[in-house]
């Protein structure tokens, strides 16, 4: 065998490994340190103070509100996306006129940055001159303008709806991959046996799609939990922190209120949570590999 740096895998992966490790571990170390220290708003450490920052996070009512909304946000988007994406993927898997056009349209939100999508929605939802209000009035669904983003009770559901719209493309893609892996013979056999459509769906499609459903749920939970631009570019968590989720609350703690200690403590906890999700994903993916 010829000796060459090109045949040593460790040398080949080293630069990528170092870069990726550095960008995660250095900030993580910093976060850990700050979270255990008394720190002023300019980031100067003033001595260890144990878990005080962690306690401060948990006793902040804004944190509890944001935590609760993060559950609703993540759960609402993940479940909503799932309910819509399964039938959409099944339709797109069939052969019909204009299927490629339909696919492109459904994938479209994936192609646009979330920031831009959110800014356009912010304008569309504008109370006085927004095109959503005028559109709904034209078709007679409402008779006066709704101030969509002025109250959490309308703003938050709309933000969840936008979240669902932008999560559908990725989810549908995974499901399409899953559907195309189901052999056609199974369906033909079921047809010969006289199975109804619903039976075929329940007995063949759903069980074989299960690994794909699992993976999409876990991945979406991670992505949605982390999603910042939709809320930030529409309401910035307002009015009065009433649409904050953990990521926007974290950003405010760190860069608006200058509470670096608490923000770092929150980051560390969120990191731990994400790590747990990731391990769950790896476990699911491995199980799929084995079967």
């Amino acid at each position: 065998m010829i000796r060459s740096p090109l045949t040593n895998p460790y040398l080949l992966i080293l630069p990528g490994f170092l870069l990726a490790a550095f960008i995660i571990l250095w900030p993580l170390y910093q976060l850990g340190t700050i979270s255990l220290n008394d720190v002023n708003r300019f980031g100067q450490l003033r001595g260890l103070n144990g878990v005080e920052n962690y306690v401060a996070v948990f006793t902040d009512p804004d944190f509890l509100g944001a935590l609760w909304r993060t559950f609703i946000w993540t759960g609402g988007i993940v479940v909503g996306t799932l309910i819509i994406s399964v039938p959409v993927a099944m339709i797109l898997n069939e052969d019909f006129y204009g299927r490629s056009l339909a696919r492109v349209i459904i994938m479209l939100p994936w192609a646009v940055s979330l920031t831009m999508t959110a800014i356009v929605w912010r304008w569309a939802l504008n109370g006085e001159s927004g095109m959503l209000n005028s559109g709904l009035q034209n078709i007679g669904l409402i008779d006066q303008n709704i101030q969509w983003l002025a109250r959490a009770s309308t703003a938050f559901p709309v933000q969840i709806m936008i979240g669902i719209l932008v999560t559908i493309p990725f989810t549908t893609t995974i499901f399409l991959g899953g559907l195309s892996s189901i052999p056609d013979d199974l369906y033909e056999a079921a047809k010969l046996e006289g199975a109804s459509r619903w039976q075929t769906f329940r007995e063949i499609t759903l069980p074989l799609m299960k690994p794909f459903l699992n993976i999409s749920i876990v991945l979406n939970m991670i992505y949605v939990f982390n999603s910042f631009p939709i809320i930030w570019a529409t309401t910035q968590g307002g009015p009065a922190n009433s649409t904050d989720i953990l990521v926007t609350y974290l950003y405010k703690l760190g860069f608006r209120f200058g509470k670096l200690g608490e923000a770092s403590a929150l980051s560390v906890m969120m990191f731990a949570l994400l790590l747990a999700f990731t391990i769950l994903y790896v476990a699911l993916a491995m199980r799929r590999e084995r079967t």
Binding site: L6, W26, I106, F255
Partner: protein, 274 residues
């Protein structure tokens, strides 16, 4: 009526609510972008006449050129950085079996799952420590590093589909590994690298929170931050200019993405299965 036509009509009818919701923001963006200034605030759908001038005025008013240049600079350089370290790593992952391979694969997965937002305070301190605050190069570095996981993942899944026999044949013919790599492997891997580079570029192009945190002066803003700054915390917003800028910043990338989307799907799918 033939059965396929009937089926098509039914499916389009079923999909139509979703399609309307998806296309609605695009319609809002385009129609507002061509509305004359004095009609923007009136809640009508169609403008009396199309004001194509908005696109020209927008360029100066929104400082579009500088932000466009910053976005291109950041996206290109961070992609180059990510690919420079990912190509060898992906090559090693697809061609060799070695101890620690599983660990490296899972390490990549973890870095991919972590959104920069969770680390943003630590990243901010890192950038301050490097003396790169308010410098677009800080963004190049952070994007490049965060993209490594995705690019290695994509490249490796494509590289694994290139048969190893071809390189081995070249070795037997007496070519050095370096020569085999350049003459045999790289030409075959070029399409995969191009596709991966484009997705890495789009990721960087669309990124928001890191740019929002690290860039403090308008001269260094990338497009998402520049456009966001025209909207956030302003008393009056020139929506027709904002929408024209959004349109120009979004549509070219969206078209490329829509065109290449199936390769992304395939790359992710192979990567997930193998």
């Amino acid at each position: 009526m033939n059965p396929k036509l009937k089926k098509s009509l039914l499916y389009w009818a079923l999909l139509s609510p979703l399609i309307v919701l998806i296309l609605f923001p695009f319609a809002v963006m385009f129609i507002t972008a061509i509305k004359p200034a004095n009609e923007v605030l009136s809640p009508t759908w169609w403008p009396r006449e199309a004001a194509w001038r908005n696109f020209i005025d927008m360029w100066a008013v929104t400082n579009f050129g500088t932000a466009l240049w910053n976005s291109i600079y950041v996206s290109v350089l961070s992609t180059v950085l990510a690919l420079a370290v990912s190509i060898p790593a992906a090559y090693a992952m697809s061609r060799f079996r070695f101890r620690g391979q599983g660990f490296f694969r899972q390490f990549l997965l973890v870095t991919q799952m972590l959104s920069p937002i969770v680390l943003v305070i630590g990243l901010f301190r890192l950038v301050v420590w490097l003396g790169l605050l308010d410098n677009v190069n800080s963004i190049v570095f952070v994007y490049g590093a965060f993209n490594v996981a995705f690019t290695v993942w994509m490249l490796q899944s494509y590289f694994s589909t290139i048969p190893k026999d071809l390189e081995e044949a070249a070795w037997i013919e007496g070519a050095s590994p370096a020569k085999a790599l350049v003459m045999v492997f790289l030409p075959l891997a070029l399409p995969a690298m191009t596709v991966t580079a484009i997705f890495s570029f789009i990721n960087a192009w669309n990124e928001f929170v890191i740019a929002l945190t690290m860039l403090r002066r308008q001269e260094s803003y990338t497009l998402p931050i520049q456009i966001f700054s025209l909207v956030a915390g302003r008393y009056t917003v020139e929506w027709h200019h904002v929408m024209a800028a959004t349109f120009v910043a979004t549509i070219p990338v969206a078209v490329i993405f829509a065109w290449l989307q199936r390769y992304l799907v395939r790359g992710l799918a192979i990567g997930a299965v193998k």
